[in-house]
Every structure is written in C-alpha cells, then in structure tokens.
C-alpha cells in the first residue's frame, strides 16, 4: 500500500520519520492533558510529512508552486524527490494538459491545462441534429471550459516536439548539427543533450526521435532514427537504411544500436505504452504495420494489426495512426470515402484481441478527412482530443457523437502533444549541462516563462 511504503525505507525520509516520532510524543502529551479535545489543532504542520505530501500532491501545478512560498517546511517538502514521485501518480487525475506549438517555425510553446474537463463534458457544441461541424464558426471557442495556459519560449526556431514522459519534454532542433533538449516547463529546467554520433550530412535524410522511460531501471532514454535515402538516378528507385542511436539521460554520449524499421512520418501520437514506443512502419503492408521499440531491452519489434487487415484492406486506407487509448494500444485510420475507425488491442500482442471502439463519419462532421489528421490523445473519459483543421483544439465524444471545440488558435500549423506536468527535476541527470531559466536566458538569448490566458 502506498501509504505504508511512504513511511518506510527511503533514506531521505529519515527526517520525516523523526518528525513523526515527535508527533507521537506530542499526541501522548495531549492525550493526558486534553482527553476530550481533538488530537490535533488545525495547523497542517502538525501532520506527518507523508500526509502533507499526500494532500499537496493533489493540487494543480500552479498552486503547488505557489505553496513553495508558504513556509520553509513546504519548500523542503515540495522540492523533495519523494514529493515528485507521489505527485506523478496523482497528476493525471488533476487535469488534462498539453504542450502546444503554434507553428512548426515558432519558438513559443504553450502549456495548456484543462482543469474542469469532466464537469463540462456534457456541454456539447454539435450533435447529429446540428449543422455539420465544419460549417460552424470556429473563431468562438467553447466558453464552458477553462483553458489555462502558460507560455514558454526557446531561443531557437525550427524546434519539433518529440515526446513527453513523466512531465519531461523532449524537443528536437533541426539546425546543423541537430540536437535534442529535455526540459521540465513547470520547473523551468532545460538540458541540452550531447551531439549524436552519426550526425553526418547525407544527401537526403529524414530523422525521427522518440522519448521514453524504463519503469524498472527508472532511466529516461531518447532514441533517434536517421534515415539515409539515396535515389538511383537511372531507375529512380529509392533505397536507404535507418540507423538507430540511443541516449540515456545522465550518461555521457549516444550509443549506436543498429538498424531500425523506418517510421511513417506523423504515424503516431502519444504511443508510449508499458515501456514500449510504437509507430506505423513506413510503406506499411498488412504484415508489417506497427513497429515498436522496447526502451528497456533496447530492441525493435513489431505488433500485429487487426485480423481484417489483409493487403486489399490496407490498400484502401488513406491515413493511419497508432496511439494509446486508456491502457490499450490503439489504431486510428481513415478507410473508403470518409470513415474514421478507432480500434484497440485489448490483449497486448494478440492479433485476435483487436476490437473496434468507435467510428466517426467524417463526411458528416468534418467534410474533409485531413481536418482530423492530428489526434493528440485520448482523454480519461474516452474522448479523442485532436487538432482540427490545423488550428483548433477539439474533442470528440463517441458515446454522444458530439464534438467540442476548446480553443481556436491562429494562424495555421498548430502542433500538440499530451503532457502531464510533473516536478521531476533534471538535476540528477545533468552532467554540468543543466540550465535554469535565468542562466539559459543569459546564455542563449531568451527563454521566458510567463502565463497568459
């Protein structure tokens, strides 16, 4: 049980234990003096530290940070790794949150969190009886939902969102030489990863990165897949190889781990499940649909598609994406002239366990399939959240068949990934390379963290 574990075992809890012992003495004293009174007054500091953590870890990130100013004991609790671990378990229940980038060339990111998602899920903006969704004005976001956002800027443009894991964000900067950074936007910590080994200029190459966590070893890793492609001038056939390199946070350098199956571009969203990252294989066939990478074993693999995925069916698919719905691997695809299917794999790795969850009639709701092309995540209530028409944050409730628009952005080209804010510090991983925001600003010329609505 979590609480039992809180009280035992961890070295840095020794102060916590000590405090509890004092507490017991005090309580016994009170038992004698004021037997009919409550055991405690109403000061929170009379509670043992593990219970103060239990309470504060349930707050949204903004309130937690404000609580650092309450007193020195609070600051000590809230900066302790024990707190960030407890908070990580609770955080997904506090609010749904995202990292948004307004356009691929922008250096500004928005950390958006939606606190009252559950309460407003009844507030439908469009039902089957209404006008088709695409004809609605999209400049008026749904007012029922509080979308709070914090904006942070990096000094570089051309930065791509790679992934988010336990509140840490991995970004890729496509400069020359390209590099990755990891940041925790809530704590304002940024670290730059070492240069990759095989960062050589190739004639025609694509690069894909993934970010993941190994629950057993508690290591964070970044994988980078670099595809070297060569076009034969006579036959015009494209051939190539994809080289994989991996970097473990806290180590000195990247390591080569051989050849990898090439991912289809934009073929996955929030697809990290049980320590394994998934993507749609480039040039996928019925037999080679979903590729995977196990961050702990550092091995590539594949996951079978649904049983009805024969080659004839696969040829009819105009768009496909892999993600995670609840605790299941999920496939979203567009088939025929406008049917958006969502399937989940109930029993991981078992082909026969693929089950259809829901279908969206794209022709009715969205008119054009590419309007739906950017799923972000499945929310706790099962709604599918996506970027609609490259400019607007929308969720689809399959039980009611309704869309809700949360917020419209402009201009076009909005990117987003699901992100659960956390207080996991990068300090333990940085080998002298961790930059606080203030130092970062001085060094690189501009990271600003500020809020706006």
């Amino acid at each position: 049980m979590v609480i039992g574990r809180c009280k035992r075992g961890r070295e840095h809890n020794s102060t916590f234990e000590g405090k509890e012992d004092n507490k017991e003495d005090e309580q016994q004293l009170q038992d004698h003096t004021a037997a009919s009174e409550s055991v405690l007054g109403c000061g929170i500091l009379e509670l043992p530290m593990n219970l103060i953590c239990e309470i504060l870890s349930r707050l949204p990130p903004k309130t937690i940070i404000c609580c650092k100013c309450v007193c020195k004991t609070f600051l000590k609790i809230l900066t302790d790794p024990y707190f960030s671990e407890i908070n990580l378990i609770k955080a997904p229940n506090v609010c749904a949150s995202l990292i948004l980038q307004h356009s691929p060339s922008s250096c500004a990111f928005h950390f958006v969190y939606m606190q009252d998602l559950e309460e407003t899920s009844a507030a439908a903006t469009c039902t089957a009886d209404d006008r088709p969704f695409y004809r609605r004005r999209i400049s008026r976001p749904c007012q029922a939902l509080t979308v709070k956002s914090t904006r942070f800027e990096l000094s570089h443009r051309q930065v791509t969102l790679v992934g988010s894991c336990n509140g840490l964000l991995c970004l890729y900067h496509a400069s020359w030489p390209p590099f990755h950074y990891i940041c925790n936007p809530v704590l304002g910590e940024v670290m730059v990863l070492p240069n990759q080994i095989s960062a050589k200029r190739a004639y025609n190459y694509r690069s894909h990165s993934g970010f993941g966590f190994c629950p057993k070893t508690k290591q964070y890793k970044v994988i980078s897949l670099t595809c070297m492609q060569y076009t034969d001038p006579e036959t015009r056939l494209v051939s190539g190889k994809t080289k994989a390199e991996i970097y473990t946070l806290g180590t000195e350098s990247w390591r080569k781990i051989g050849d990898a199956p090439l991912p289809k571009s934009e073929g996955s969203f929030d697809s990290f499940l049980n320590g394994i990252l998934h993507w749609i294989t480039d040039g996928f066939t019925a037999f080679n649909l979903i590729s995977s990478f196990d961050f702990e074993m550092e091995q590539f693999g594949s996951v079978p598609g649904p049983t009805h995925f024969d080659q004839e069916w696969v040829n009819k698919i105009s768009w496909i994406n892999v993600g995670v719905l609840g605790e299941f691997l999920s496939l979203c695809y567009v088939i025929g002239d406008g049917q958006f299917d969502v399937w989940v794999m109930k029993d991981y790795g078992v082909k026969e366990s693929w089950t259809r969850e829901f279908v969206i009639d794209i022709n009715f709701y969205c008119a054009r399939e590419h309007y739906l092309h950017q799923p972000i995540a499945f929310l706790r209530n099962g709604d599918l959240l996506f970027i609609w028409n490259s400019r607007s944050l929308v969720s689809y409730n399959h039980r009611k068949g309704t869309f809700r628009e949360f917020k419209a952005f402009g201009p076009w080209g909005v990117r987003a990934i699901a992100h659960i804010p956390s207080f996991i510090s990068l300090k333990g991983f940085a080998r002298g390379g961790l930059l606080r925001t203030s130092r970062w600003r001085g060094l690189m010329g501009g990271v600003n963290f500020y809020t706006h609505m």
């Binding site: 049980m1 609480i3 039992g4 017991e24 309580q27 016994q28 038992d31 037997a35 009919s36 009174e37 409550s38 055991v39 405690l40 007054g41 109403c42 000061g43 929170i44 500091l45 009379e46 509670l47 043992p48 593990n50 219970l51 239990e54 309470i55 504060l56 349930r58 707050l59 949204p60 990130p61 903004k62 309130t63 940070i65 404000c66 609580c67 650092k68 100013c69 309450v70 007193c71 020195k72 004991t73 609070f74 600051l75 914090t150 942070f152 304002g188 606080r436 963290f449 500020y450 809020t451 706006h452």
Partner: protein, 161 residues
C-alpha cells in the same frame, strides 16, 4: 455505543485515545486494513483494541464512514459518492486533519483519499498568503528569501498579489 457489553465472533471493541470504547461489527472493521491484518494474524477479537492516535470524536466519524461503505458495498457507487461529499461537507480543518491522520493510521484508503482531496480543494488556486491562513502556518521566510523563491517560479504567481 460507549462501552462493550460482550464480544462474540461478529463484533470487536475499539478504544479511542481518550478512553472511550466502541463496539464494532466485524465486517465494518474490515474496511480498515490495519484491523483486517490484526484479525488475520489471529489477534483475538475478545481483546479491546487500543487506538492511541485517534480520539473518540474522530473514531466515531471513521466508524460512520466504514459502516456506510461496508453495508453499501453492493449498492450503487453514486450513492456512496454523495454520502462521501455530504460526510465531509461542513467539517472544519482540524477535524479533517484528524480524519486524515486516523485514515492513514487505520489504513482506510478510500477515506484517506476523500479527506486529503477535500483539504487540497480548499486551497486550490489560492495565493500562498491565503494558504497560510487556512492551514495556520507561520511564515518563517525573511522578505528577501520569500521574494527569491517567488522570483524563481515567477510564472505561477501571475494574477496573484
């Protein structure tokens, strides 16, 4: 409720820190992992189980919660949810702290969750000055120290004085 008359297999006696005894049905007591473990490890139910950390007022509340949840385990979750929110509705902060402490000691996870959540909800989105008042915490920062912590986390304080 105040004292034990007799013990049989179905009931056990709990004693609060201030000496009050509570006769509890066994299936109600099983809501507490602590009591469950004691009963499993053959601790005789004839004995009076002392709970030195929990006063009578708090123990009565805890047992009220356990009874509702033990009796209603097969009924609808919605009914339990409305009981839970009603149960904590007008409780003052001191009572909530005692309840959290008791739920933690007796290992009643559901009660710990709702009480801790209720306390957290009272300070949600509040500036730190208000948090101090609600939690009766004295500010031990010098103005300079407080300003430094604030500056380091500037974005979170937007909109607060």
């Amino acid at each position: 409720m105040a004292s034990s008359i007799e013990n049989n297999n179905e009931k056990l006696t709990l004693k609060s820190s201030d000496g009050e005894e509570f006769l509890v049905e066994k299936h109600v007591a099983l809501q507490s992992t602590l009591l469950q473990n004691m009963l499993d490890s053959d601790c005789s139910s004839a004995d009076v189980i002392p709970l030195p950390k929990i006063d009578a007022r708090t123990l009565a509340l805890v047992l009220g919660y356990c009874k509702k949840h033990a009796d209603a385990s097969s009924s609808k979750q919605g009914e339990l949810n409305s009981f839970d929110s009603e149960f904590l509705k007008d409780m003052d902060m001191g009572a909530l702290f005692n309840l959290v402490l008791a739920a933690n000691f007796m290992e009643i996870k559901g009660l710990l969750d709702i009480a801790a959540q209720k306390i957290a909800d009272t300070i949600k989105d509040k500036p730190h000055q208000e948090v101090r008042e609600i939690f009766h915490v004295e500010n031990d920062y010098t103005p300079e120290e407080e300003a430094a912590v604030r500056e380091e986390n500037r974005w979170a304080f937007e909109g607060f004085p």
